[in-house]
């Protein structure tokens, strides 16, 4: 007996509540947007400039005490967060100290970093600093610009590719679905105020890739079925296609999720935010390729008389010679 996530021959009607799903997505996106406007993102130093120091001490972290010694240095906004991870040793206490970029200082002053380290060593002389990162305001400005361009370029490139391989309606559906994913991912980072840094941009682009991957599989089947069942209406064809690919969609989501879960639990705290973004993205991406992309395709409609020029989609790349 095989493990099956989905019964064979499902015939779920995915569009009976299309309005609810679309409405739900809209509401979620509005919440994401409002949250972004009101509380913004918790930018890491990559995007905001500043210095981030990881401390490692044998004495439990007393945030107030850390704050007191650092405030004496008058460095402006200082944030201290304790880090906890199951992989730490028993008497290993880690904190992340973050100091804003110093006013009017384009370069990074190593004296500032040293003074922070000296101040913190008054609490625990044996304290070590496993990582010290400092980004100047000039570079952080550029990084954020590059990040936005990267995400934008990826979306446009995908739009063009899908347009080329399918019809424009598919491209619009796919791009709206992945914009939905990007917005909701940024939204949850804003809502939960998780640190948003360069790695999250990488995660964001991977989500874009994953989500589009899922969508394309469904669309590919839609195209095939549109040619196969010329008489069925679009809604039926879409439903059929989603049902046929449902098993694969969920299967892949589960395997990817398993991998990410392992990384989330065991991969250490340094990349946890990154992995979280991806897990969220896989969830949203799976949802959006079923509900958002296809619903948009249904709304836009597809002209169907292109079967003549390309009678067999599956052989577009030729047979693999066997």
């Amino acid at each position: 007996m095989r493990l099956r996530l989905v019964r064979e021959n499902t015939s779920i009607d995915f569009f009976s509540r299309a309005r609810i799903w679309l409405g739900l997505s809209m509401v979620a996106m509005v919440i994401a947007f409002v949250s972004f406007l009101i509380q913004g993102l918790n930018y890491g130093i990559d995007f905001q400039g500043g210095t981030s120091i990881r401390t490692d001490s044998a004495i439990p972290v007393d945030v107030a005490e850390y704050r007191t010694v650092l405030e004496a240095l008058e460095l402006g906004d200082v944030s201290i967060a304790t880090v906890d991870d199951p992989l730490f040793d028993e008497d290993q206490y880690v904190a992340l100290v973050r100091v804003q970029a110093q006013e009017g200082d384009e370069r990074i002053a190593s004296e500032t970093i040293e003074s922070i380290q000296t101040a913190l060593r008054t609490i625990d002389p044996g304290m070590t600093f496993p990582s010290v990162e400092s980004v100047g305001p000039k570079v952080s400005g550029e990084l954020i610009q590059t990040a936005i361009i990267a995400v934008g370029l990826a979306v446009i490139a995908i739009l063009l590719y899908i347009w080329m391989r399918f019809e424009w309606q598919f491209a619009v559906g796919a791009v709206l679905a992945l914009s939905h994913d990007v917005i909701l991912t940024i939204g949850i980072f804003s809502e939960l105020q998780i640190k948003f840094d360069l790695a999250i941009i990488a995660a964001l682009l991977t989500i874009v890739g994953y989500s589009i991957n899922d969508t394309v599989i469904v669309f590919d089947r839609v195209r095939e079925n549109l040619r196969k069942y010329k008489k069925k209406d679009l809604k039926e064809v879409l439903n059929l296609s989603i049902n046929e690919t449902l098993s694969r969609t969920l299967m892949t989501s589960v395997t990817t999720m398993l991998a990410l879960l392992a990384l989330f639990i065991l991969g250490g705290d340094v990349i946890r935010g990154f992995v979280f973004a991806m897990m969220w993205g896989v969830l949203i991406g799976t949802y959006s390729s079923i509900f958002v992309a296809s619903t948009i395709l249904l709304v836009l409609g597809v002209k169907r008389d292109w079967s003549k020029k390309d009678p067999s989609a599956g052989t577009k790349y030729g047979h693999i010679e066997t």
């Binding site: 493990l3 496993p130 570079v139 990826a154 682009l205 991957n213 394309v216 395997t255 392992a262 065991l266």
Partner: protein, 553 residues
């Protein structure tokens, strides 16, 4: 029907074997690294029994390239510096002023007196007292321009001259600035490389980024500060005649002279002649030494021509002081006791041994043509890196096992085939990374784990399709064939789109992000290859032997 021609089969498995062979050294990372280090030393001509033994730890006929570990995994310092090229413009114009003055002075009758106006450092403003002579002055200054060798071949001169009433404005031309930038950056790269090599760390990365930036990555350094101290000093060394001492910071030194603060005496300023007798560029060697009181000092030796100049100067100026100036600070101002003919001497100051050693290194490597600004600085401790690797490994293994089990539960024997392909897939990723000498970063490990999750996707698409085809097709062989045929377009489309994002990430990202893009991109290539060819050939081999009447996927 369902079979793959023998040559094709051979090609597939040959590719797999080659890929895995290249991946193999990574399984013995420490050993291969020792071997490579020893080989590198042997190549430079060193030999010893210990080196031979180290080299013998890994056989020569096997590939020995390894996946580089990024700084976040190995630990080390990462710095992004910006070269202040404007410094060079300014000093060029500074040097240009005397020739402008002299050329105009020769035509005093038409242009009148020539004075220099205050201006921003990147331009030179000159006022003439006879406005009617402005055109003549313009021509004279234009005549001083020299041609710039530009890449476009267009004739360009090195300066632009503007005129506004009695004021001439001299700026560097675009072509000259571009040429100067290029020269400055190349020179800076070279000097940074020499300075870092002097400290002797392994495999530093020193790369130009954009027009005026340099990325420096030094593995195994405990703190970026060590590197900053090494690079933060321009190490401009000059020996200038001393005209006087003063306690006032705003004292006027007079034309042709400069006011330079003392390094160790607070509120002491020296009035020096601007033109140095000799400069650090003429140094042949510099090293740590000790003075007669046993205090650390730097011993230096000039090259022959500078030694002669210095000798002549000391002979003529016995009894008067001269200053040793380093980066606009007077280190010491001894009095010339006697003629110094050999061109060698020592610099004393209140140095510690470390400071003196560093100064010697800096003097040997040469002065930077321009100051550096540090834009980005990251230090990762080696322990944190090792922890990340360990965590990544565990996560990979756990993720791998979970997926292997899950695939077998879902697809039975076919799941086993997919699993073999998955393991080969991970091997191939490492093989590719090693071949191109890519750098593995922490997000890169995440990329691999993600690939493990997504790699089965192509197999899943095929298997699901075979299941569907089994319902309608005539016999299992046909179903498998159709399954592969029809799934191909989906697999290609889906992976090309993901690949597009990987390419964009790679080109736009820096450091860890591009490391992630590389593993993601390679992961897509290998997973498509393994799903289409490896799993398929496994299925075909099994099918042609077992000849099952029915199959269950």
């Amino acid at each position: 029907m369902l079979n793959i021609s023998f040559p094709k089969l051979l090609m597939i498995w040959l590719t797999v074997i080659v890929g895995l062979t290249f991946a193999m050294p990574n399984a013995f990372y420490g050993r291969v690294e020792t071997h490579n280090d020893a080989m590198a030393l042997i190549e430079t001509g060193q030999t010893s029994a210990a080196l031979e033994a180290d080299a013998a730890q890994w056989p020569d006929f096997l590939p020995s390239s390894l996946v580089n570990l990024g700084l976040d995994l190995r630990g080390g310092a990462h710095l992004l510096v910006e070269v202040q090229v404007e410094d060079v413009y300014a000093s060029f114009l500074e040097g240009f002023w005397p020739s402008v003055r002299d050329a105009l002075a020769a035509e005093r009758d038409t242009v009148g007196f020539v004075t220099r106006e205050d201006s921003i450092p990147t331009e030179l403003r000159v006022r003439i007292s006879e406005p009617v002579g402005a055109d003549r002055a313009f021509q004279i200054v234009r005549g001083l321009a020299s041609p710039v060798a530009s890449f476009t071949g267009a004739a360009a001169t090195n300066i632009d001259v503007g005129i506004n009433g009695p004021i001439l404005t001299i700026t560097l031309s675009e072509a000259e600035m571009a040429a100067m930038n290029e020269r400055t950056i190349l020179q800076t790269l070279e000097i940074i490389r020499r300075r870092i090599d002097e400290v002797g760390t392994r495999e530093p990365t020193i790369q130009r980024q954009g027009s005026d930036r340099i990325l420096v990555q030094v593995p195994g350094v405990g703190s970026a500060n060590e590197i900053i101290e090494l690079l933060g000093t321009t190490a401009q060394l000059t020996f200038n005649p001393v005209l006087g001492r003063t306690g006032e910071a705003d004292a006027s030194p007079g034309t042709g002279n400069i006011l330079v603060p003392s390094l160790d005496e607070p509120n002491v300023f020296y009035i020096l002649e601007r033109r140095p007798v000799v400069t650090g560029e003429d140094l042949e060697n510099a090293q740590l030494d000790f003075d007669q009181n046993g205090r650390p000092a730097v011993a230096f030796r000039f090259n022959t021509s500078a030694a002669r100049e210095f000798g002549d100067y000391t002979l003529e100026n016995i009894g008067s002081p001269f200053a040793i100036v380093l980066d606009d600070q007077v280190i010491s101002a001894p009095t010339i006791q006697s003629h110094i003919p050999g061109g060698s001497g020592i610099i004393t100051g209140n140095f510690t041994v470390e400071e003196a050693t560093n100064l010697a290194v800096l003097l040997r490597a040469g002065a930077l043509p321009a100051e550096l600004t540090f834009l980005e600085e990251r230090t990762i401790g080696p322990e944190l890196g090792a922890d990340s690797i360990a965590a990544g490994q565990i996560a990979c293994i756990v993720a791998g096992i979970a997926i292997l089990v899950y695939m077998v539960l879902s697809y039975g024997l076919f799941g086993v085939f997919a699993n073999i392909a998955l393991i080969i897939n991970v091997g191939l990723i490492f093989g590719l990374l090693s071949i191109v000498g890519a750098t593995l970063t922490l997000p890169g490990i995440a990329g691999i784990v993600l690939t493990i999750g997504m790699a089965v996707d192509a197999n899943v698409i095929v298997f699901e399709r075979i299941r569907e085809e089994l319902k309608t097709a005539k016999g299992p062989a046909r179903a498998i064939e159709l399954g592969y045929e029809k799934a191909l377009s989906s697999i290609i489309d889906a992976n090309i789109t993901t690949f597009i994002t990987a390419v964009i990430l790679f080109t736009m990202g820096s450091g860890p992000v591009s490391g992630f893009a590389v593993t993601l991109g390679f992961g897509i290539m290998t997973s498509v290859f393994t799903a289409i060819f490896v799993t398929r050939s496994l299925i075909v081999i099994w099918f042609s032997r077992a000849r099952p009447k029915t199959i269950e996927v």
